[in-house]
Amino acid sequence: MNTQELYQKTDAILARCGTEERSMIAVLQAVQEEYAYLPREVFPYLSQKMGLSEAHIYGVATFYENFSLEPKGKYVIKVCDGTACHVRKSIPILEKLRSELGLAEGRKTTDDQMFTVETVSCLGACGLAPALTVNGKVHPSMTPDKAVELIETLRREEA
């Protein structure tokens, strides 16, 4: 981790969002936008700049589902397991993606840092169930087969 760069980027974020406590979530979101996760080095720095204890900031970061303290893959795949997707069989899609990528419940990111597979409780795209997103882009009416095709397409693009 290049801390100098992290501090510079964080300074820019703080200048934009503000250093009051009320900006906390926006600041963490902006840092995560840059790095796709929250590097541990950012906590002491934010503590100093925002005048809040590290524990307090860590408490906020770990409370919310969307903040990750682990680096994620280049492609973050979120399989929706909201009610509508669940009743239209989203779990076989998740299982298929995991087996295709060698992932499991506690292992969300591939070793080559290419793919992260997680579930999300509802994307609000219930009319398109079952749905998943790849880096925020919604893919509607998925099946296990279509999910594999999607992975293959992404792999081809990378090759």
């Binding site: 009320r22 509508a84 299982e95 087996s99 409780s121 509802c122 609000g124 795209a125 219930c126 009319g127």
Partner: protein, 624 residues
């Protein structure tokens, strides 16, 4: 920049003239659903093709009206997501469904150049072709009031909103009404909070207006976290100004100068549309200081959530805006006294605010003409699950479930029988065929132990296991429990454990009573709404489907054939043709065999997901 009331009025006239001049329009749906189906590419292709053909088209509402221009718009969600991408043609009112890039040429050449309908793109049901959107059964039975403009105007243009009478209600509230008069109208209209609780909005506003402490705040709850609900998302994306106008009226009524919109992070498009709408309103001078020279100041800020369902609860939501962990606190004091930054706060949901301009404009009496005595107005519902027409609908309060599911929803998908509908998400309950004629309003639902909630309706057919549904919701609530109070933190975990063992075939005698006892304790002692309602799905499924629980516990059998661990799946060698289709769909590689020979399932590897059953063309895969 408009600085006076007169300038707003002349701008409105100019916008109306401009809208009228655009006699022909193509509206491409740019809601989340249609965008994922490629509607933005269709939009770009239409633009290119029309320009190539020399048909003048305007993307922006042109302020100097000229004849024969075609308006090409990106609209908000039509709600008929199942049939997307959707393209609406005006003035004919035609709706083209499942449009693809390949259809663009024909649309331009026939519809735009010659005014002919492309019949194959029109909606069909039971062999009948429906040309006009309003004639389609899905729309015909609806009463679209809050959603009236969703899909019919460009969601990214404040001028279009003004052209259909936007900000007229705000203007009226600001100049012609006193704070008391506004609140009286809202109270008399009988508007009740659309976020779930159904608390009278007028009473809330009265309480905030009465507070001495300043500043006061207006907060909009756009943290629509219920799985299976997307009404608020569609309003924020499809008609953002309407909701903003509602917030501004609330600001005038209670004397607040700052508004906050809390939107969940899963709705990036809603955030983008709202940000754009706020920037436009600010630029025009409808937000900011000394609005229209009235001396009234109002600004709106957007806060993005970070993935915590509990933040939909009022005090957790305000804590989250303050930059803290989103945990609820003990009430009273209520949000109306000690809300955001410990100040008096009006906290309403998106749909509630979207109702406000209509009430102010048309008056309370007019508003009450729709809906029931105690629940006036309409309600938007997200219709999902095993139903033919999934999507977003709006009906008068008091419409029956039967009309919603069978008339609008088109009945059950795949011909299976209706079993139940889950209403109100993880806080609600289920309703069965016995309640099909129950009117959908706040009080009728409360009587049968369900709630409108935010308005998610998940329809389930006979293949859905109700014990598994209860487990699913308990798993969700348990995950989202913030951990502050013991009944919710510990109680939901214990309930989940029991449900997990029941669906795994390890249920014990007495488990049902234990579940009910825990449910009773959590409901009575939890700190916030999330905990108090967490047991809802369990209690209501036990009430209506106790026999299913008993079959799981005593006979280790799932009557719906859905519980994976209680399933035994095998391939009938007499029927299997060895096509290998099942082995390709199997997510865990449990099916193997040689082509043209019967395949076999390895029961050790099989996770009993059932994916193979549906895929076999010879119906050779069976369950015991």
């Amino acid at each position: 920049m408009i600085a006076t009331r007169q300038e707003l009025q002349s701008l409105r006239e100019a916008c109306m003239r401009a809208a009228k001049a655009e006699s022909r329009k193509i509206l491409v749906c740019a809601g989340t659903g249609c965008v994922s189906g490629g509607s933005l590419d269709i939009y770009a292709a239409l633009k290119q093709k029309m320009e190539a053909k020399g048909i003048p088209c305007e993307v922006e509402l042109a302020m100097d009206p000229h004849e024969d221009v075609v308006g090409l718009k990106k609209s908000g969600c039509h709600g008929f997501c199942e049939m997307g991408p959707l393209v609406r043609i005006e003035p004919q009112g035609w709706l083209y469904t499942k449009v693809s890039l390949a259809d663009v040429d024909e649309i331009v050449e026939r519809t735009m150049a010659k005014g002919e309908i492309v019949e194959r793109l029109a909606y069909r049901q039971n062999g009948k072709i429906y040309e006009k959107q309003e004639e389609i059964p899905f729309y015909q039975k609806q009463t679209r009031k809050v959603l009236e403009h969703c899909g019919h105007i460009d969601a990214d243009s404040i001028y279009e909103y003004i052209s259909i009478g936007g900000y007229e209600a705000f203007e009226k509230a600001l100049f012609d009404m006193s704070s008391d008069e506004i609140i009286t109208q809202i109270s008399d209209s009988g508007l009740r909070g659309r976020g779930g609780g159904g608390f009278p909005t007028g009473r809330k506003w009265t309480q905030v207006a009465r507070q001495k402490a300043t500043p006061k705040y207006v907060v909009c709850n756009g943290d629509e976290g219920d799985p299976g609900a997307f009404m608020d998302r569609s309003i924020m994306e499809g008609d953002p100004h309407r909701m903003i106008e509602g917030m501004m009226i609330a600001g005038v009524a209670v004397g607040a100068e700052d508004g906050y919109i809390y939107v969940r992070a899963e709705y990036p498009m809603a955030v983008a549309r709202l940000s754009n709408a706020i920037a436009q309103a600010k630029k025009l001078g409808l937000l900011g200081e000394n609005i229209l020279g009235s001396g009234f100041n109002f600004n709106i800020h957007i806060n993005q959530g970070a993935g915590a369902f509990v933040c939909g609860e009022g005090s957790a939501l305000t804590a989250s805006i303050e930059g803290k962990r989103g945990m609820p606190r003990v009430k009273p004091p209520r949000t109306v006294e000690h809300g955001l930054f410990d100040k008096p706060t009006v906290l309403n949901n998106v749909e509630t605010f979207a109702n406000v301009p209509t009430i102010i404009k048309a008056g309370a009496e007019e508003y009450r003409k729709i809906g029931t005595e105690t629940s006036p107005g309409t309600k938007a519902f997200a219709l999902t699950g095993n139903i033919v027409n999934t999507g977003l609908i709006e009906v008068p309060m008091g419409t029956t479930l039967r009309e919603v599911i069978f008339d609008i929803g088109g009945g059950m998908r795949g011909g299976a029988d209706f079993k139940a509908v889950q209403i109100g998400g993880p806080s609600g309950g289920c309703l069965t065929s016995a309640e099909l004629d129950l009117p959908l309003d706040f009080d009728s639902l409360k009587k049968v132990g369900a709630m409108i909630g935010s308005g998610g309706l998940v329809v389930m057919d006979s293949h859905t296991c109700m014990v598994e549904v209860a487990r699913f919701f308990m798993n969700f609530t348990q995950n989202e429990s913030c951990g502050k109070c013991v009944p919710c933190r510990e109680g939901t975990r214990r309930m989940l454990e029991i449900l997990e063992r029941i669906v795994a075939g390890k249920g014990r005698e007495g488990d049902i009573d234990l579940l009910l006892e825990l449910a009773d304790t959590i409901t009575n002692t939890a700190l916030c709404g999330l905990g108090k309602t967490a047991a809802g799905p369990v209690v209501s499924t036990i009430k209506y489907f106790r026999d299913e629980y008993e079959a799981h516990i005593r006979e280790k059998r799932c009557p719906a054939g859905a519980c994976a661990k209680l399933r035994r799946i095998h391939i009938d060698p007499a029927l299997c043709k060895g096509c290998s289709k099942c082995s390709r769909i199997c997510p865990v590689g449990a099916i193997s065999g040689t082509l043209k020979q019967p395949f076999v399932i390895d029961p050790e590897k099989c996770i009993k997901c059932g994916a193979c059953i549906g895929t076999c063309p010879f119906h050779a895969i069976k369950e015991d």
